[in-house]
């Protein structure tokens, strides 16, 4: 079945049972409906989003699974990080509703046509969506909470490693 799809699309083989396909975001619904009707990749198992802040894109991987549950196909879509929006897949897969709701909250991606994008896990969240790279969780924590005295590991590891190296060097040079 994957050979049939390979005739139409440029599918890359990533593992023994894992395939990848990169498409444009405006063809998303069209291609996914084609795949779900004409092949046995009928199920959406996950929508995975990665924030590539250096390229200014979100990469969304729609992970499709076959009817036999033996192969996985990752369909990758890249969209800009500003005013990001995508069409919903609610009509194709009912389970997309909760996945899109999750991504809307965590990344601020707007899924056009999904009217259930209300709060998922967070309550009264007023900051930028937390899984975007520019959201600094450590700064947020330091602003909102204070730690109990005695918690020594609340440090930037890189700075700490440098400090310890310099300390060791000083000791060595002193001797």
């Amino acid at each position: 079945m994957i050979e049939f799809l390979k005739k139409h699309y440029e599918i890359v083989e990533k593992g023994s049972r894992l395939y990848k396909l990169q498409i444009e975001s405006d063809k998303l619904v069209e291609i996914l409906s084609y795949i779900s009707i004409n092949s046995n990749f009928i199920t959406l198992s996950q929508i995975a989003c990665t924030d590539w802040i250096e390229d200014e894109v979100f990469s969304l991987n729609y992970i499709l699974t076959t009817k036999e549950r033996d192969k996985n196909l990752m369909v990758e879509v890249r969209i800009g990080r500003v005013h990001c929006s995508l069409p919903t897949l609610l009509t194709l897969y009912p389970q997309a509703q909760v996945m899109e709701r999750d991504l809307h909250e965590m990344y601020g991606i707007n899924f056009r046509g999904n009217d259930t994008l209300y709060d998922f896990a967070l309550e009264n969240w007023n900051e930028i969506p937390p899984l975007r790279r520019e959201f600094d969780t450590l700064a947020y924590v330091n602003e909102h909470f204070d730690f109990r005295i005695g918690r020594e590991d609340n440090k930037d590891v890189k700075v700490e490693v440098k400090r310890r190296k310099a300390q060791a060097k000083e000791l060595k040079d002193g001797k």
Binding site: F135, V141, H144, R148, G150, N154
Partner: protein, 208 residues
């Protein structure tokens, strides 16, 4: 509590008013008897707020069988004496925990289970969990560990029973009632104003 305060556990000390509410000075024989009975009948609210709740079934069933110490679970806050905050506490849970705690009848006690309630534990840099439980609710006993073994939790219960029986420490609920402004201010700091019902509202509802 007053002499043995460790470094870092100073916040509660600030709000304590030892002379006025010390049970130690006024503990009569009747009071002693009441405390003795009270220590042997602890009803735990069945609210698993975090991953520590996975060690509750072993404790309440035949292997560790904590019922021999007089500890059993109940379903509703109205009948409960003990609230166990088992592990990390997210904003959303904390709101419900506060509500449950305020609805419980006095005397009531709170056990903080796991390192996460003490200083954030594994999730010290997480944006959605609180770091110090005793800023928002009075904690009578901390049990540390991630995850604490059932034996550790049983020891926590035994220590708490000692405290109740001997009136060793200020009970948390008295602090919470008398110094509610301190806790309320901390709660409002993270929830915003007027988002949760006040202690008086919950407390008045209880007596009706």
């Amino acid at each position: 509590m007053s002499e043995n305060t460790q470094e870092g556990f100073v916040d509660q000390q600030k709000v304590l008013n030892n002379e006025e509410y010390s049970i130690k000075n006024t503990q009569s024989i009747i009071q002693k008897a009441v405390d003795w009975f009270r220590a042997r009948s602890m009803f735990v609210l069945a609210y698993g707020t975090g991953c520590g709740a996975i060690e509750m079934p072993p404790i309440f069933t035949s292997r560790y069988d904590i019922e021999r110490l007089g500890v059993i679970g109940v379903a509703t806050p109205r009948q409960a004496d003990i609230l166990i905050v088992s592990g990390y506490c997210s904003y959303k849970t904390l709101k419900r925990v506060i509500r449950s705690y305020e609805q419980m009848n006095e005397p009531k006690y709170l056990i903080g289970l796991g390192s996460c309630t003490i200083n954030g534990g594994m999730y010290w840099d997480s944006y959605n969990t609180i770091k110090k439980l005793d800023e928002y609710l009075p904690v009578d006993m901390y049990v540390n560990g991630c995850m604490p073994r059932p034996e550790a939790l049983i020891e926590g219960f035994v220590k708490l029973q000692d405290n109740i029986r001997n009136a060793k420490s200020e009970a948390g609920y008295i602090q919470y009632r008398e110094n509610n402004a301190f806790y309320r201010a901390n709660q409002e700091k993270i929830f915003g104003k007027n988002t949760i019902p006040t202690f008086e509202e919950n407390f008045a509802g209880m007596n009706q």
